[in-house]
Structures are given as structure tokens and as C-alpha cells.
């Protein structure tokens, strides 16, 4: 039993990451529902709030500080423990070794260690809710001085903030170890014949994402260390002279709050790509499999991914256009930002190119992949506004931004995770998920997320600032109540639809129809082995790869797909 829990098998670890992410996403989703409920009924007594937070919601009414700490925890959970964890730690761990023909990761014990550190990080983060003063309220970006001066800046900025930093530091360490493992595995453990130009785009995506993580999380770790020292050690990395907080003069001098923003966003922007690249790889594959056509412009897809990874490190300043940073830097960052939009557009066109002229099989995985393309366009195109410093002068920190990043980084990535779940569930658990329930789940979710995030854009155009616990103080915000009512009800609908998914997931685990080896008639290596695969993936057999990853409907062949795995010389 202990052997199974502390397993070093990448498939077990992949499932552990998946379920850790599932637990995190459910908590994060619940928190978002609480926020949407409070925003439209700020004075309504809610028994559940009081039961969960006897202090923060005494009498059932959520205090502003509780709202802000729920918001902070929602962001942190979703960004780190869902968007970073599930596509990479979950699916990547499970399928990367199989897709390149390896029997495990390069460093299996290190892999297990990464998972257990990640779990510890999650528990420390959730523990912040129980700290005196509650969870931190400064948002997932943790800008100092708010995050650096302790409890005098607000409840939750004391012990809760320390736990947040500790959690993020642990998470960074785990991510660094995972990245080392992923990169080494791809470089060293590919079987004969698995040349770079035959690698599935999923493998390219996990590989590229690992390289980004390796660089980005090291920087976040450094920033977190300096922030801790400002809090505990009396240093002044991020704290300037002359601070007077809650009528107390602080003894700091010479630091700069902007230094944190530079370090944080040097991590934070690439983090967006950490969240979305694995989804892009997976969607490319699912579209190709279900359109029965090769990926359109495979080399361009790989090139676009690498370009995104490279340019992604040079655009962090677009989060700081109105921060007081030099206007010249702002213009330079703006040019680079709009340039990084180009490879994303290339990918979109190539997805359309893959679909065009295909014979589509509209299973649930395919529906979510198509939904991904739709929301990726919707969320991505608004980046053209936000990438212009002139537009950011108005739109920064409004609901326009909230709508933008939720669609592109949240919903798109989650759609890819759903697609991945419906696509790979048969392989991971040996059973099929229910397609009818899956379709209902998809349609409600698809319409619902548009209903949530598109109206947010127009609220932003009206100037609605984000991170407000209620909208009662401002005249102009009272005109927007109807938008928020609509958004909240859409979000309740979407949240309810996820119960269908949960039911489908757990019901299928035990009651789903038995899965064959290759139910989708796909070509990559995981579909050549039993569902679920044996302990060392290939049963000790020597695997060779004889062709590229997307040979569908090749003229002159009888079958409309050809497996990558084959016999004979690679």
C-alpha cells in the first residue's frame, strides 16, 4: 500500500498530480462562486460563509478583507496548483515517457519528491486560511509594500502572507525539479526512431514548457526569498524610505516596490505560457486525430511554440505600463508584446488549416478542443488592446483585464484539460467516459464561460476596477449592476455543470465501458500499449518508431491512420 502511495512510477505520480489539481480546482471554483455571490448580494446573510469563516463572515456577511483573501487564494490555487500542475505535472508526467517510448522519467525518485513537495505547498497554502488574521489579501501578485510590511497593512498580511510565500517557494522548488526531469527525459530517453521531427506536439509542448519553468521559477524563488527578508530580516529590497503605514513610521530605506514587479513578472508572464503551451500541444493533436488529417504546418507549430517561449521572457513589462516605469521601456515592451501575438495567431490559423477539409469526429474531447480554439481567439485578440500602452492607460486593472486573462489563460487551459481528460481517460483508467453526459457538460460550460467573461470586458470598458469587494461606493459602478448579476448567474450555471463532469469522472472510473487499446484510432505511442499501460509501459518490449506523429489519411494507404510504433528499422 505504502509502495503504491509513494510510488516512483510516472503514471502513478501523474494521476496523483491530476487529482491534486482536481481538488485544487474544486476549491478554487467554490471560492470564485463565493465571490460572485457576494458581489451581487453584498448584504445578504449566507449561513455557509459564517460556517466556513466564523470570524471573517461573522453573521454571514463577508467582510472586505475576507473577500480579498478569497480572491488571493482563488488566484494562487488556480495559477499554481491547477494551471501549472495539471497539464504539466498530471498529463505530462503520465504521457511524456510513454509518448517517447521510455519506461519512466529520467529521475523517478526526484519525480516522486516533486509531487510530495507540491502537495506540501498546497497544504501550507490552504493553511493560510487558518492563520491568525486569515489568508493574505494582496492578490496573487503580492505587490510590496502591501505584502512586505506585515499585519499593519491589513489582516492576513501577517502569518497568512508568510505561509503564502513559503507555499510559493516550495512550489517553485518542486517545479524546478520537475522541469529538470522533463527536459532530461526528452533529451535522453527517446527510443530509436523518435527523432525531433517525429515528436508529437504534446511532447514538444511539455519540453518547451519545462524549459520556461526552469528559468521562470528560479527567478520567482529569488524574489520570494528577498520578500521574506524584507518581512523578517528588516532589509529594504522592495521597501523605500518614508513609509507610514497605519500611523506607524517604518524604518526602511532605499528599496523599490518596482523591483518586485520586475522580478515577479519576469516569472509571471512566462507563467502564462507554462499554463497554455501544453494545452496548445494537446489541442493540436486532438484536432488532427479527430479531423483525420495531419497537423497543418507541423514545423510552424513547433517554431511558434519555441518563439513564444523565447519572446515570452522579453515582454514582462507590459504588466507595468502604468507602474511608473520609464515610458521608453513601455514602448519597447509593447513592440515585443505585439510581436509575441504573431506566433499565437499562426497557431490559430494552423488549427483552422488542420480542420479545413477534414472529416470531423465530434466526440467530447474534440468538442472541447474546438471550444479551446474559439475561446483562445476570443481571449487572445483582446491582448492587442492591452499590449498598447495607450490603451492600458484606461484598461489596466479593470474587468477588461480580468475577462482577457481568464479566457486566454484560465478557460482555454481548462478546456484543454477537459479535452485531455476525455481523450486520455480510457488510457489512464482502462474505461470510457460517458459521451452523452460529456456533451451536456461541454455545451453548458462553453456557453457559460462566454456568459461570464465577455460581459466582464464591457464592464471594464465602463471603467469597472477589479479587486473590489463591492461596488457601492461609486456612482458609475451602480449603473453596471445588471452586468454583474448576469456574470454571477452565468458562473453559478458553469459551476453546477461541473458536477456533471465530476459524476461522469467518478462513475466512469468504476462503471465505464471497458476501453480498447486505441479507441480514437490515434497514432502516438500510448495508443500502442494496453489501457491502462503496464508498470514499465511497454512490457519490456523494444519499441521503435517508424514514422511521424500525425500520419492520417495518407493517399494510397488502406487505413486512414498509421501508428508511430512499428517493427524493423526506425
Amino acid at each position: 500500500m505504502l509502495g503504491r502511495i509513494f510510488s516512483t512510477d510516472h503514471k502513478v505520480i501523474g494521476k496523483q498530480y491530476y487529482f491534486l489539481g482536481l481538488a485544487s480546482v474544486l476549491i478554487g471554483l467554490a471560492l470564485s462562486v463565493f465571490m460572485r455571490l457576494h458581489l451581487i448580494y453584498p448584504d445578504q446573510k449566507v449561513k455557509l460563509f459564517e460556517w466556513l469563516w466564523p470570524v471573517g463572515a461573522a453573521g454571514g456577511i463577508m467582510t472586505p478583507e475576507l473577500y480579498l483573501s478569497i480572491m488571493t487564494m482563488h488566484g494562487t490555487l488556480m495559477v499554481f496548483f491547477v494551471l501549472t500542475t495539471v497539464p504539466q505535472g498530471g498529463f505530462g508526467n503520465y504521457f511524456l515517457p510513454i509518448q517517447i517510448g521510455a519506461s519512466d522519467m529520467a529521475f523517478p525518485r526526484l519525480n516522486a519528491l516533486s509531487f510530495w513537495i507540491t502537495l506540501t505547498a498546497l497544504l501550507v497554502l490552504l493553511g493560510a486560511f487558518f492563520a491568525p488574521g486569515g489568508a493574505p489579501l494582496g492578490g496573487w501578485t503580492a505587490y510590496p509594500p502591501l505584502s512586505a510590511v506585515g499585519q499593519i497593512a491589513g489582516p492576513g498580511q501577517g502569518d497568512g502572507m508568510d505561509m503564502w510565500i513559503l507555499s510559493v517557494a516550495l512550489f517553485s522548488i518542486a517545479s524546478l525539479l520537475t522541469s529538470i526531469n522533463f527536459i532530461a527525459t526528452v533529451i535522453e530517453l527517446r527510443v530509436p526512431g523518435m527523432t525531433l521531427d517525429r515528436m508529437p506536439l504534446t511532447v514538444w509542448a511539455w519540453f518547451t514548457t519545462a524549459i520556461i519553468s526552469l528559468l521562470a521559477f528560479a527567478v520567482l524563488l529569488a524574489a520570494g526569498l528577498l520578500l521574506l527578508l524584507d518581512r523578517w530580516g528588516g532589509t529594504s529590497f522592495f521597501l523605500p524610505a518614508g513609509l507610514v503605514v497605519s500611523d506607524r513610521a517604518l524604518n526602511h530605506s532605499g528599496g523599490s516596490p518596482l523591483l518586485w514587479q520586475h522580478l515577479f513578472w519576469f516569472f509571471g508572464h512566462p507563467e502564462v505560457y507554462i499554463a497554455i503551451l501544453p494545452g496548445m500541444g494537446l489541442v493540436s493533436t486532438i484536432l488532427s486525430v479527430n479531423a483525420r488529417r495531419p497537423v497543418f504546418g507541423y514545423k510552424a507549430m513547433v517554431g511558434a511554440m519555441l518563439t513564444i517561449a523565447f519572446l515570452g521572457f522579453a515582454v514582462w513589462g507590459h504588466h507595468m505600463f502604468i507602474s511608473g516605469m520609464s515610458p521608453y521601456s513601455a514602448i519597447a515592451f509593447s513592440v515585443l508584446t505585439l510581436t509575441v501575438g504573431v506566433p499565437s495567431a499562426i497557431k490559430t490559423f494552423n488549427w483552422l488549416g488542420t480542420l479545413w477539409g477534414g472529416r470531423l469526429r465530434l466526440n467530447v474531447a474534440m468538442l472541447f478542443a474546438l471550444g479551446f480554439v474559439s475561446v483562445f481567439v476570443a481571449g487572445g485578440i483582446t491582448g492587442v488592446f492591452l499590449g498598447q500602452p495607450a490603451m492600458d492607460l484606461y484598461l489596466h486593472d479593470t474587468y477588461f483585464v480580468v475577462g482577457h486573462f481568464h479566457l486566454i489563460m484560465g478557460v482555454a487551459a481548462v478546456f484543454a484539460m477537459f479535452a485531455g481528460t476525455y481523450y486520455w481517460f480510457p488510457k489512464m483508467f482502462g474505461r470510457m467516459m460517458n459521451e452523452t453526459l460529456g456533451k451536456i457538460h461541454f455545451y453548458i460550460t462553453f456557453l457559460g464561460v462566454y456568459g461570464i467573461f465577455v460581459p466582464m470586458h464591457v464592464a471594464g470598458l465602463a471603467g469597472n476596477p477589479r479587486r473590489y469587494p463591492d461596488f457601492k461606493e461609486f456612482e458609475f459602478l451602480s449603473d453596471l449592476t445588471w452586468i454583474h448579476t448576469f456574470i454571477s448567474h452565468s458562473s453559478f450555471t458553469v459551476a453546477a455543470a461541473q458536477l456533471l463532469f465530476l459524476f461522469n469522472l467518478f462513475w466512469s472510473l468504476w462503471r465505464g465501458a471497458r476501453a480498447s487499446v486505441n479507441p480514437w484510432e490515434a497514432t502516438t505511442l500510448e495508443w500502442s500499449v494496453p489501457s491502462p499501460p503496464p508498470h514499465d509501459n511497454f512490457g519490456g518490449a523494444a519499441v521503435t518508431v517508424v514514422r511521424g506523429a500525425y500520419e492520417f489519411s495518407v493517399p494510397g494507404r488502406e487505413s486512414d491512420f498509421a501508428m508511430q510504433a512499428g517493427e524493423g528499422t526506425p
Partner: protein
């Protein structure tokens, strides 16, 4: 099949919502009008790309089962080069086009005779101070900060330059005259945002950040803090009162008279 139609419907509703009305409040400055023009230009461009992409996606789905066998293709280099260059040109073109709107705010110089005002942001309120006829502010001494006593800036009582400094909770400015607002913070990061001016600027402790504008429509406009600053972030409100020049001069005279009485 259903999905194709839904994608079109969602795209159409999205476009309709953006165009249903002007979501912005009326512009009250040259800059704000230039912003609106640039916004609508970008909206036209991105809107067209958005609708085109969703249209094509919908068509691809609706044609899903028209064929018995998929058509084989690995790509089309000519098309790929074409749409890469087209998007690059559009995106960077939009950026280049909008740069003057940004640089006019941050690199322009105020015209002579500009009104200088200092803003102080703190958890969770705003204060403004005017240097008065001598054109100089009192020097600051943190120890003398006294919010209840009307000295949020911590002006040094001994400095005679401060005798004619006016400190207010709302920002009063004359219409048609350049204003140079110097943003000063003393605890955490805040943000000065006036929708009608289409301007937003962080207030960062340890930095003095100038913001220049000229409002030309008298009226009262809300200022909303737009950088998370703590549990009272959503309450951190003040107003900009844009006054006809004559009225503003009268207000300044009254305020000076009141100072002398005290």
C-alpha cells in the same frame, strides 16, 4: 454541428454587446478623444479578426461530415507566410499608430502656466495640496503627519513656504488649463484613475510620479483607486472637480483668505 452554430451565435452576441452602446463615459480632454479614436480603430481591426476566425471555425465544423474521407495535406507554406506577415503588420501597425497617444501623456511637457498640484494617496483616502501664490510647498517631515489634524502630508509647521499651501480632499482644477499632478504615496501602492480623462497612473511610495492632463469640460468626475491597496481599496474614492476658470480663481481666493484667517 450544433457547435458551429453556437460559435457563430456567441461571436455575434459578443460583437453586438461591444457595439450596443458606447461603454466609455464622455471624453473630457484632447487625450481622451484621441484615446477613443485609437480604441475604436483597434476594435474594428480585432473585431474583424475575431469574427473571421469564429466564422471559419464554424464553417469547418458545419462541413464536418460532408466528406467521406479527409483530404490529405501537411500544410501550405505560402499561406502560412501570408498570414504571418499579415498579422505582424496589423498588430505592430496598431501599436505604432497608438504610440503618440501614450507619449503625449508621458513624454510631453506641460505648457507654461500649468497648475501644479500634489496628490497624496494613503490607505484609504486621497489628499491634494496646492503650493499657493509663492509657488512653493512646505517641506515634509514624516513625524508631523497628522491625518485628524489636517496635515496628511506631514508639512513642516516651521516652514514658511507652507503658510499658503491649500490642502484638500477633492481635486479642483480649472478647465482648459494644463495640470501637472505629482503623485506621492506613503504606505502601499495606489492608483489614480479618472475614467473621463482616460488616464490611470500608479502611486508608488518612494517615487514622485508626474501625470499631466488638461480637462476642458467642467463637471465632477469620480476618482477610483485602481491598484489593490488593502481592505478599503473599494472605498478609496475622491472626485476631480473641473471648474470654469473664473470659478476656480474665486475658489483659490476664498481658500487663501480662509488660510489667512486661521
Amino acid at each position: 454541428m450544433l457547435l458551429g452554430i453556437l460559435i457563430w451565435a456567441v461571436a455575434a452576441i459578443t460583437a453586438a454587446l461591444f457595439l450596443a452602446r458606447s461603454w466609455f463615459p464622455a471624453a473630457i480632454s484632447e487625450h481622451a478623444r484621441a484615446f477613443d479614436t485609437q480604441f475604436h480603430l483597434t476594435l474594428a481591426m480585432t473585431g474583424a479578426m475575431f469574427l473571421l476566425a469564429q466564422l471559419l471555425l464554424g464553417i469547418a465544423i458545419l462541413r464536418a461530415r460532408r466528406r467521406t474521407k479527409a483530404e490529405y495535406s501537411e500544410g501550405n507554406t505560402r499561406w502560412e507566410i501570408a498570414w504571418t506577415l499579415a498579422t505582424a503588420a496589423l498588430f505592430l501597425g496598431a501599436m505604432a499608430w497608438s504610440t503618440p497617444v501614450f507619449t503625449a501623456v508621458h513624454l510631453g511637457r506641460p505648457r507654461p502656466g500649468a497648475l501644479r498640484v500634489e496628490a497624496l494617496a494613503k490607505q484609504f483616502s486621497w489628499n491634494f495640496r496646492y503650493p499657493g501664490p509663492d509657488g512653493r510647498y512646505a517641506r515634509l517631515d514624516l513625524k508631523q503627519i497628522n491625518d485628524a489634524g489636517g496635515n496628511p502630508f506631514g508639512a513642516d509647521e516651521r516652514d514658511s513656504a507652507g503658510k499658503d499651501d491649500i490642502v484638500t480632499a477633492a481635486l479642483r482644477i480649472p478647465a482648459g488649463r494644463d495640470v501637472e499632478l505629482i503623485l506621492r504615496g506613503r504606505d502601499v501602492i495606489h492608483n489614480f484613475f479618472v475614467r473621463e480623462l482616460r488616464l490611470k497612473q500608479d502611486v508608488v511610495p518612494g517615487m514622485l510620479i508626474p501625470l499631466r492632463f488638461r480637462a476642458d469640460v467642467p463637471g465632477t468626475y469620480e476618482v477610483a483607486c485602481s491598484e489593490l491597496c488593502g481592505l478599503g481599496h473599494h472605498l478609496m474614492r475622491t472626485v476631480v472637480i473641473v471648474m470654469p476658470p473664473g470659478e476656480f480663481a474665486a475658489w483659490e481666493r476664498d481658500a487663501q483668505a480662509q488660510l489667512r484667517q486661521e
